[in-house]
């Protein structure tokens, strides 16, 4: 049985596209990444799964149960962290966390206290006085305190400082090791690459590719900038070459070892190897999708 399964899930807002024909299968216990630029349909997909919006056509199941018929049951198994962490501004952090537990009809105080301590969250403050990062932490506690079987996170790390991001992923890895399925959306490719076992790339409302991280990684490209030469080395997997002044700039999608060996022989004054920006990666999958 899959934790999440969607079949031709489609949502139109009036005539404008939300998502189209989304087919996903996230096995139980998986760590699944959902990558795409802003406005691609990540949140629409997630909000449909949670029953916040109803699909125009297609179906979705969570742990084998249709999202339309068993909403309460499904939601009690899910921990959800929205991309915008908004709460009742006049309430204190601890009141919000307790309210969330009460809505689930459960006492989660032990786990909540543990999470707050790990995330260094001051529970005596009012929500209105919190920064985005701290509100995100409240959101994380609310999503995890009841130990859900499925965690759905929409852009979880935006607004969290790097240390907290690390702690957050450490917690997620633990939950995953205990058997929980993790489904997270992101536009930060590197964090998905680091933590997820499978990933789907979505663009303009459609899934371009779903595969294991391993396979996706093989097609992964780097943006390489060299100074001191006027042409890229003659290697396979080089494209999108741009020249300017004494610099040359290209996308490389082969083995890093081969690249470094080739570069070692060149009279370089400077070299940078970076993640291509997200748009380039999507263009890569986009072109493959068109072929």
């Amino acid at each position: 049985m899959e934790a999440v399964r969607t079949i031709s899930l489609t949502k139109y807002y009036g005539k404008s596209r939300g998502i189209k024909d989304i087919n996903l299968a996230v096995p139980e216990g998986d760590f699944f990444g959902f990558i795409g630029p802003n406005g691609a349909g990540k949140s629409t997909t997630i909000r449909t799964l949670l029953g916040l919006i109803s699909p125009s056509s297609g179906t979705a199941e969570i742990f084998g149960q249709d999202i339309r018929g068993h909403k309460d049951k499904i939601l009690s198994d899910i921990g959800y962290m929205p991309s915008e962490a908004n709460f009742y501004p006049a309430m204190k952090v601890r009141e919000v966390i307790r309210f969330s537990a009460e809505l689930r009809g459960r006492d989660c105080s032990v786990e909540a206290a543990r999470l707050c301590e790990r995330l260094e969250l001051d529970t005596g403050k009012k929500i209105g006085a919190l920064s985005l990062g701290n509100r995100k932490k409240v959101s994380i506690v609310c999503a995890l305190q009841h130990k859900p079987k499925l965690c759905i996170f929409d852009e979880p790390t935006s607004g969290l400082d790097p240390l907290m991001q690390r702690e957050f992923y450490a917690i997620l890895e633990e939950r995953n090791a205990q058997g929980a399925a993790i489904f997270l959306s992101s536009h930060v490719l590197s964090e998905v690459q680091r933590h997820c076992r499978h990933a789907a790339v979505i663009r303009e409302g459609e899934i371009l590719v779903v595969d294991s991280m391993e396979h996706l990684g093989k097609t992964r490209a780097k943006r390489v900038t060299l100074r001191g030469v006027d042409a890229p080395p003659a290697l396979e997997g080089i494209r999108d070459v741009k020249k300017g002044g004494d610099a040359v700039n290209f996308l490389y999608s082969g083995s890093p070892e081969v690249l470094l060996n080739a570069l070692a022989a060149l009279p370089l004054t400077d070299v940078t190897i970076t993640e291509p920006d997200l748009e380039e990666i999507f263009m890569h999958y986009y072109r493959e999708g068109e072929k």
Binding site: R47, L50, G51, L75, N86, P89, L103
Partner: protein
């Protein structure tokens, strides 16, 4: 129950302020009655003699020399209008505020069905209205006792009952609208309350517009009619109750299908 508790806590300050202001104003109106009474012989004639202006506020049918007559008009202005505004604000924001404040995504992703949320929010609105009325009635009775006026209990009770039903109706209509909007509807709520109030004034002015009394709940809260007839007009009241049920029904129907943006 968690949502109901939460709603009551969220609304506590507003409830205290509205209850305090309405109770205070009504109390003051009652307490100044002895002073007014002395001048009533002149004023009463004048009030009744201002033609359509008197008719608009139902003052042509009321004897200001009697406490209940005075109270019927003052009560209409203070508790009727004040209570209607409060009820409208409660009703119009009950569901819509979650989307306006972007808390709907938090609330609705917990395992509580939309139907249960609507029920609990509606209960919280009605409970808050009930609390306001109990306090206001208590203050009015105490102040009446203080100035030594004891109006006929039945009429007194009918007046308060009519205003309570009016507030429930206004709240229910606004509650129904609340399910359709996702931005703040305070303007809509206050506008509806004010519109209903003026519809009644218009219907008092001309017989051609008397049908308006069926539409506005201020039709059945008209102090002059209740005092003169010793009962609440059942025709106007029934339409009001139907509108109340429609408002609540719309809220359930719409909210359980709504896409939360």
């Amino acid at each position: 129950m968690a949502v109901l508790k939460h709603e009551l806590r969220q609304g506590r300050n507003a409830l205290v302020i509205w209850t305090g202001i309405i109770a205070f104003m009504l109390g003051v109106c009652v307490l100044i009655y002895p002073e007014m009474k002395k001048q009533m012989s002149e004023i009463s004639g004048m009030f009744a003699d201002m033609g359509s202006f008197s008719a608009a506020f139902g003052m042509d049918k009321i004897n200001f020399g009697e406490f209940i007559g005075y109270f019927g008009v003052e009560c209409g202005n203070v508790l009727g209008l004040g209570g209607a505004f409060f009820a409208a604000l409660l009703g119009i924001s009950a569901l819509a505020k979650e989307e306006k404040e972007h808390t709907a995504e938090f609330l609705l992703t917990h395992p509580v069905s939309r139907g249960k949320i609507v029920v609990q929010k509606l209960c919280s609105v009605f409970l808050q209205i009930a609390v306001l009325n109990v306090v206001v009635i208590g203050v009015a009775v105490l102040s009446a006792f203080f100035v030594g006026e004891m109006p006929e209990a039945k009429i007194f009770a009918l007046l308060f009952l009519a205003y309570f039903v009016l507030q429930i109706e206004v709240a229910a209509i606004c509650f129904g609208i609340s399910a359709f909007i996702s931005r703040g509807g305070l303007g809509i709520g206050l506008g509806i309350a004010a519109l209903l109030y003026f519809l009644n004034i218009i219907s008092n002015l001309t017989e051609n517009a008397e049908f308006l009394k069926y539409i506005t709940p201020f039709g059945y809260t008209e102090g002059a009619d209740i005092i003169a007839n010793g009962s609440i007009n059942k025709g106007y009241l029934s339409v009001g109750l139907v509108l109340t049920v429609i408002g609540i029904g719309m809220a359930f129907y719409r909210y359980s299908r709504k896409d939360i943006a």
